[in-house]
């Protein structure tokens, strides 16, 4: 006997993500989900970003790693509250799911907060599939990773609203075709803003930080209207 089901396999996560989104909206907090492969420079970008945003834009960070609190230690220097999630001591999960974010967000005082940054587990595949209730998703790619990552991992680049091409300070030492990389990204997600950054030197970070400021202001505006 055939029994009709028609249920999305990730519907439990989707439901939890919708609850997170409602919870964040009530508090007027803009939530940014930052994803990348391991070693793209996410944490250094966030350190420098927080330095530019704090204390004017009150920020907090949820950082996901399989193991260690190294990233949380680095990020908390900015003064922003940081919650470290370890998905497992050895092995562990490949992404942060909505229920994990819910638990972590409860450890942060959202009142008075403008921005919550989620530094996802370094992985260009799985995090793209999991809604966590964020307002925007961005992907960081370093120029040491090759020009064609966007066409190799199209879902990630389709799902994001902005891309950072990081470690541009390395360009003189690499056979990296920046134009080709931008072409590929535009092919997968036409019109998506791409910020060329060097987290090390700070070059290009201003326009990226301005992009965040605009979105935080929009969300705060919605809070005042409500």
């Amino acid at each position: 006997m055939e029994v009709k089901v028609v249920r999305n396999v990730l519907d439990v996560n989707a439901k939890m993500a919708a609850e997170n989104r409602r919870f964040f909206a009530e508090n007027g907090v803009f939530v940014l989900n930052v994803m990348s492969s391991p070693g793209s420079g996410k944490t250094t970008i966030l350190e420098k970003t927080l330095n530019r945003l704090m204390p004017e834009i009150q920020s907090a960070v949820i950082v996901g790693d399989i193991c260690t609190t190294n990233d949380a230690d680095r990020l908390s220097v900015s003064g922003a509250p940081v919650v470290q999630i370890n998905t497992d001591e050895f092995g562990g999960d490949c992404h942060l799911a909505a229920h994990v974010i819910e638990n972590a967000a409860r450890q942060i005082d959202l009142a008075g907060l403008d921005l919550l940054i989620v530094e996802n587990v370094g992985n260009l595949v799985c995090p793209a599939e999991f809604d966590i209730g964020e307002d925007a998703r961005v992907v960081v790619l370093s120029v040491a990773e090759g020009e064609d990552k966007s066409v190799k991992y199209p879902l990630m680049f389709r799902e994001c609203q902005a891309c950072l091409l990081n470690k541009t300070d390395l360009l003189p030492y690499l056979d990296y075709d920046l134009e080709k990389a931008r072409e590929y990204i535009d092919q997968v997600h036409p019109g998506m803003p791409v910020f060329e950054t060097s987290a090390k030197t700070g070059e290009g970070l201003d326009s990226w930080v301005a992009w965040i400021r605009d979105r935080v202001a929009d969300k705060a505006g919605l809070r005042q209207q409500a």
């Binding site: 029994v3 249920r7 999305n8 999960d93 599939e129």
Partner: protein, 123 residues
């Protein structure tokens, strides 16, 4: 990479769909629909399902997976086509303003439950 989690979720959904009164009946088939743009490798998923269904009502179930192509429609000119090679630009007018029609599916569509003599479906 998260195929085991997906497999466990599929087993939960399929098990919950067994009608009351048919508990204990064997599930013969689970029909799935998976879009080509979803981050699931079908071979890995089958492997995980084989392991994770042991000692469940789905232990002997066949998993039939319909792979759904990535189809987009241009919001500018209305052209609809099957996306290949991760080119998300309209081949007719070049616009990137697209409506994604399919490709992100990850659904349990239906299950086939073995009908045993004496089993009754409660309405």
């Amino acid at each position: 990479m998260h195929e085991m989690g997906i497999a466990l979720q599929i087993i939960d959904i399929a098990t919950a769909a067994i009608p009351p009164g048919m508990q204990g009946c064997r599930v013969e088939r689970v029909n799935l629909r998976i879009g080509k743009l979803s981050a699931v490798v079908v071979g890995n998923l089958n492997f995980c399902l084989e392991i994770a269904t042991r000692d469940t009502p789905l232990a002997e179930a066949a998993f039939s997976i319909e792979e759904i192509p990535v189809v987009a429609q241009c919001r500018e000119c209305g052209h609809e086509w099957q996306v290949a090679q991760a080119v998300f630009k309209c081949p007719e007018c070049g616009s990137g303003n697209l409506e994604m029609i399919s490709g992100r599916e990850l659904d349990v569509v239906s299950i086939d439950v073995e009908e045993q003599v004496g089993s009754q479906v409660q309405k």
